[in-house]
Structure formats: structure tokens, C-alpha cells
Amino acid sequence: MKNILRTRCISLVFLLVFSLSSHGEIAVIVHLSNTDNMNTEAISQLFLGRVSSFPSGGVAIPIALIRGNSYREYFNATVLKKTENQYKAFWSRLVFTGKAAPPNELNDSDQLRDLVAKNPALIGYIDEDSVDDSVKVIAVF
């Protein structure tokens, strides 16, 4: 009984820590004029180069954050379900066969937000704290 209680306590703490650290960390953003609805799968398809247009038809250009950025790691793990190496291995298949080029990368969230605010073709993910009313949030992870 004591053991079960302890296990439950530990899992509760784990759950709490996990939900605190993961809740609302990343916002996927697009231009204010974008009216597309996209689920996790649709966002992932764009960031993995499987399609290069929004569901409504316009050209879509994904922008990522640079390697080593914790939001990038979190986005890749949560949305793309890939570690940095799996991401690199996945893209090397496309790069060396001429199928697609990986998303361009920017240093930080503010820079990315400012670009997305200006260009209706862009989609990116940023630190949720960097969101302002210049961009539209389509998903939060």
C-alpha cells in the first residue's frame, strides 16, 4: 500500500512537472491574412517538406530556429517526433536526392516573428512569450 502510494505521488509530481514545463511553450505562427486551419500532422508535413503549400493552396515556406535552440528541440520532438539526428538523417534523404531543401533557420524567436509578420508565405514556430499582435497563432504546443 505504501509502495503504491509512493508510486502515485511520484507520477503525480512527474505529471505536474511535465505539464508545467511543456504547457504553451511554443506557438506556431503565420501571417495575419492566413485563414488556414492546421492540425499537428499538417504542420509536420510542411516542416518535413512533404508538401509546400498551405491547405488553401498558397505557397508555404517553413522557417525553423537554429540547432541548439531549445524551442527547436521541443518542436522537433513534439511535432515532428524526431531528435536532432533523426531530423538530419531525414533531411539528408531529400537534400542529396534533390527532392527538397530543409527550412531556412533563424537565430531567435523575435527575428522569426518579424519576418512572418511581413510575408504571407511563411510559417514558423517561436517561444510563446515572443508572440504579439503582428502575427497569427495557429497552434500551441
Binding site: E41, A42, Q45, R50, V51, S52, S53, P55, V59, A60, R67, K81, K82, T83, E84, N85, Q86, K88, A89, F90, S92, R93, V95, F96, T97, G98, K99, A101
Partner: protein, 352 residues
């Protein structure tokens, strides 16, 4: 050597305002058969990469450099030079093609490319892109790897998944083909694959991916030695099918492929299945593959061999992985071509 220099000059003269992106890959692989009683281990059929009972780094070590020049307005040019241990690291052009983006879903490509017969054909040289040391040799055995021609590539959403299709056509000639000349006939053999047409479709949804591919071409084979006892082959019709089904949830994966070759005289069936598990940066995997060939006219079994592989991939760096693999090859064919062997290979793959 002159060809790469020309291509380089072309790139630099074309690009005035655009951008050039360089990427590269390298695999340094060593290995040997486990004991003196083993027959040689034929790890790479196409280029006749053989391991014997002494450690050797030549059969599979490969390096590649790619330059892609974007000329704006949807036009780009890509070249990939590959240097192999088997060719004393002399570089050759395995890709040199122009891409023209017609729409956001459709591109037209023209030039020299890898022939996309099978799932791993196009990135066979890029060891970092797959878990094993090599895609199993029982399937990746063909004498022609490239073609000159045109392809049309299309990608779109279908249901909740995505569908990529490509249509390609072209031709390839190989003078003194290495696999045929040094391994199968032991005399100079020229191989031509002409009127190649093919279609490939892959559908991906969530953690699943399937590929269907069909290629048809006419095969000519010439034995160039005067007085050769072999008979030239002219216009043999070849149908090639590939089906692949893959599941990868990031932690577990199951990879599989089935191929069928049918020419006027020969039918070949081969398949592979591989299971893997990732824990932190280490991937453990098991793979099994089989090659089975028969002569159609006399209904005679020819080559038959299987490979069982066990290995580990350790991603010790974001752009590099160390791999170790043990293979056991069983030759069950009436034409005991490769023999039985156990082999041990290891290597580092990197990309940049």
C-alpha cells in the same frame, strides 16, 4: 576528371545573383570476414565491394560533395560528386541536373541522376540517412545505378496524408560494366538500359509510409571480346517492381521492401525486413533479406542467398554516427556464386 571541372565552371559562371549551397556526406567503413573458413563477403554488388579475411577500408568507404546553385525564379542546378574507395577516390558525377519549379507542387528535373528503382536507390551512398551500414546487398544488386533523362516530381495532400509521385524516362550505357565484367562473365561486358520509363508513388501518413514503384526498359548486353562464347542480348524487355512499407514512431521502426525483376530470361524476387529500437542516441537493429533468381525458359533455380544482420548505430554527434554490424550470408543457390560468410563491418557516417 575534366567533367567535374567543367561543371564547377558552369556553376560559377551561371550564378551571379543567386546562392550556392554546399552539402556533403562521408562514410568511412572497414570490415572483414570473421574467419579464414569464410568465403568473401560481397557487400556491394554494383561496384563489386568485397571483404576478405583481412581488414579492408576500401569496399564501402564513400565521400560526396554536392553543390546546388539557385538561379531564382524557380530554376536551380545541382551537382553531386562521389569518390569511392573502390575507385581509389577518383570522383565521378552521380548527379548533375537542372530543377525547374513549375508550381509549388510540381517540378521538372533534367540531367544525370540516380535511377530510382528501389526505396533506397537514390540515397544509397548517404550512410547517415539509414540505420544499417548498407541497405541489404540481397536487394541492392543491380549493375546500373544512374540514368540520363528527365523526371517530373509532384507532391500533394491526399486525405490526411501526403502523396509524392514521380515519372521518369531516360537511358544509361555502361561500358565495361564492373559487376558484369568482373563478377558474372569474367570478360568485358557493355550494358545498355534504354527507353527507361518509370513511375513511383509514395504515401505518408503519421508514422507510416508506403512506396510503389514500377520501371520498364529494354536491355542490351554486348560481349566485346572477339570470339566470346557468350551471346549478345538485344532488346530484352525488363519489368521491375518495388513495394516498400515502413513504420517509424521515433522509438521503434519496421522497414520492409519487396522487389521483382522480370526479363525475357530471368526472374528475380528479393525482399528485406528490418526491426529497430532506439534508446537515447543508440539504435539497435535486426535485418533479414533474401535474393532468389530463376531462369524462366528452363525453369531452373540460379542464385539464392540470404543475409541476417545485427547491428548498432550510435549517433555520437548531431551530424555523425558510428555503426557496427555483423552479417551472416547463406548461399543456397545451385549457382553458388557468393558462398557462405560471416562478416563484421564498422564505420562512421557523417553529413554536412
Amino acid at each position: 576528371m575534366r567533367y567535374p571541372v567543367l561543371v564547377f565552371m558552369l556553376i560559377f559562371s551561371l550564378v551571379s545573383h543567386g546562392e550556392i549551397r554546399f552539402n556533403g556526406f562521408a562514410s568511412v567503413v572497414g570490415g572483414r570476414t570473421v574467419s579464414d573458413n569464410d568465403d568473401a563477403f560481397l557487400a556491394d554488388y554494383s561496384l563489386v565491394g568485397l571483404y576478405g579475411d583481412e581488414i579492408n577500408f576500401q569496399p564501402e568507404s564513400t565521400m560526396g560533395l554536392q553543390a546546388r546553385a539557385d538561379l531564382n525564379q524557380g530554376l536551380s542546378f545541382t551537382t553531386q560528386w562521389v569518390a569511392r574507395g573502390l575507385n581509389d577516390y577518383n570522383s565521378e558525377v552521380s548527379y548533375a541536373y537542372i530543377i525547374y519549379q513549375l508550381t509549388s507542387e510540381l517540378t521538372l528535373q533534367a540531367g544525370r541522376k540516380r535511377l530510382p528503382l528501389q526505396y533506397y536507390s537514390e540515397f544509397f551512398d548517404v550512410g547517415f540517412a539509414y540505420p544499417w551500414i548498407r541497405p541489404p546487398a540481397d536487394l541492392y544488386t543491380w549493375q546500373i545505378l544512374n540514368y540520363n533523362g528527365i523526371s517530373l516530381e509532384h507532391k500533394t495532400r491526399l486525405g490526411n496524408g501526403t502523396l509524392g509521385t514521380s515519372f521518369y524516362t531516360g537511358r544509361e550505357e555502361s561500358k565495361n560494366n564492373r559487376l558484369l565484367s568482373t563478377f558474372f562473365y569474367s570478360e568485358p561486358t557493355d550494358e545498355v538500359w534504354k527507353d527507361i520509363i518509370g513511375i513511383r508513388a509514395d504515401y505518408a501518413i503519421g508514422d507510416f509510409q508506403t512506396l510503389l514503384s514500377y520501371t520498364n526498359f529494354k536491355l542490351d548486353r554486348f560481349f566485346t571480346t572477339t570470339g566470346s562464347t557468350e551471346e549478345d542480348v538485344l532488346n530484352s524487355n525488363v519489368d521491375f517492381f518495388a513495394v516498400s512499407f515502413n513504420y517509424d514512431n521515433g522509438q521503434y521502426f519496421f522497414l520492409s521492401e519487396w522487389n521483382h525483376w522480370s526479363s525475357d530470361r530471368f526472374a528475380t524476387r528479393n525482399w528485406l525486413a528490418s526491426l529497430g529500437y532506439r534508446l537515447f542516441n543508440v539504435t539497435s537493429y535486426l535485418a533479414f533479406s533474401e535474393f532468389n533468381q530463376e531462369e524462366k525458359i528452363d525453369n531452373e533455380d540460379l542464385e539464392e542467398h540470404t543475409t541476417t544482420s545485427l547491428g548498432f548505430r550510435w549517433d555520437f554527434h548531431p551530424q555523425a554516427a558510428f555503426k557496427v554490424q555483423v552479417d551472416e550470408i547463406r548461399d543456397k543457390g545451385t549457382l553458388a556464386l557468393v558462398g557462405d560468410a560471416k562478416a563484421f563491418t564498422f564505420g562512421v557516417d557523417l553529413v554536412f
